[in-house]
Symmetry: D2
Amino acid sequence: MSDLVIRPIVASDESEWRRLWTGYLEFYKSKVSDDVYASTFARLLGNEPYDPKGFLAVLDGRPVGLVHYFFHRHCWRIENVCYLQDLFADPAIRGKGVGRALIEAVYRVADEAGCPSVYWTTQEFNYAGRMLYDRIGEKTPFIKYQRPAG
Amino acid sequence: MSDLVIRPIVASDESEWRRLWTGYLEFYKSKVSDDVYASTFARLLGNEPYDPKGFLAVLDGRPVGLVHYFFHRHCWRIENVCYLQDLFADPAIRGKGVGRALIEAVYRVADEAGCPSVYWTTQEFNYAGRMLYDRIGEKTPFIKYQRPAG
Amino acid sequence: MSDLVIRPIVASDESEWRRLWTGYLEFYKSKVSDDVYASTFARLLGNEPYDPKGFLAVLDGRPVGLVHYFFHRHCWRIENVCYLQDLFADPAIRGKGVGRALIEAVYRVADEAGCPSVYWTTQEFNYAGRMLYDRIGEKTPFIKYQRPAG
Amino acid sequence: MSDLVIRPIVASDESEWRRLWTGYLEFYKSKVSDDVYASTFARLLGNEPYDPKGFLAVLDGRPVGLVHYFFHRHCWRIENVCYLQDLFADPAIRGKGVGRALIEAVYRVADEAGCPSVYWTTQEFNYAGRMLYDRIGEKTPFIKYQRPAG
């Protein structure tokens, strides 16, 4: 039986973290500069309350997934809410419960922080993701608008 | 000709701010406790970098709209992004450009902060809002999921 | 008080019908050839059971709106269903109940035909239309796909 | 290598057709009466121009999928359009190209009829279906509304 461990990202994870996060960014046909890799990794390891934190999913000793989350204010609440921004599981190991375990780890850390409200966004046509999200979360009627690019 | 001024919310605005924000919350068939009114208003007036700030729209001397926004981290960027959370224009004065002026004020403050990326969410069926958002922003393919209620 | 009459389209309506239907097609940034105008108008006046039929809305003696509908098979039913394809109310008279009266006329004719199931489609971003449709109909989770253009 | 044949439904297919169509209806958490099974099967075998027709997908001699389609009027065109109403592939054999082959068979018969415009609808959350439809068709911005149930 395979052994899945979800644990906080630590400094020695940098190269594996970079590989997995790159896979996530490529899924969104996106990329970021080395400065952003450096800045985000430093924030993940730091202690600033509004900076992102993250978990790594390790299956049989091999990093196979990650999640990034952070807390932010919400005008309708006193406590913060938790935004689960990035979620990735290596496509080669889909179906092993890695995505679900990563989301549930965020649910737990949000509960511990006293900020149990967790949300995320996804592209309407991310069918594989939504198959999971419909089971572990609930779709809201909210859609995202953004300021047009300069 | 009517005179529309967009200006930061100040302490003496509390009762008018409360009236307008209540209108907004009612639009979403929601309400918040007095503690939340107190906490959010205090944050709007404070100086914490991750707390919400806001603008009031004043038409011919009368407060007729408001916007709340705050900055938060984004793993894909070094600088923060700006989340425009609450936007309200008194339905009685719709069509005067109040909503647009409030959003543009947030665009300006985001630029000044070096965080030009601004976004917001809205319910898919908020037709009146989307008529404006399609002109001043752009719809993304992102939809929001949330952790199911307890 | 204004006087709104919904009545079947007749041969002498051709020029007014053409004016109104052109308005509808322009709303969809579309146009059709003279052959299509001629063919569709002839079908509206004919007796073929699967051809489109239509109503004109006449407000204070002036044609201000139209609807086209037809019946078609449905594999899940013995009786046909009614597809309300085109609905138009002169934008200048919006808010007079013309759209609602036209849809309700189709509901009645569908009932008389023993085919009470009526449906229509609309663009997701047709906000003005959807404000009406949410009151008089119900949104289904169905979205439309089509064969790609040649 | 497996052998996939798409062929018109014939009278001797009734029991296999019934089994497959029942699977489709169950996917939509629906069912129909025996009268509807009888009526629809008779129409599939008949020659009425506005009645549904269908194809069976046979993989290695075993019926594994079906499609129903029919033509109907369209006010914007002289020729009819083709509505692909029901599409089903046995979940046990997904990934063998059965759905795609059935849709392409409808494309061909629509071309032969001089009515190349083919469309279908699907529930927004039919992720497995949409993975195929995004490859072989194109999503339109049209959503379906219906008359509320009596």
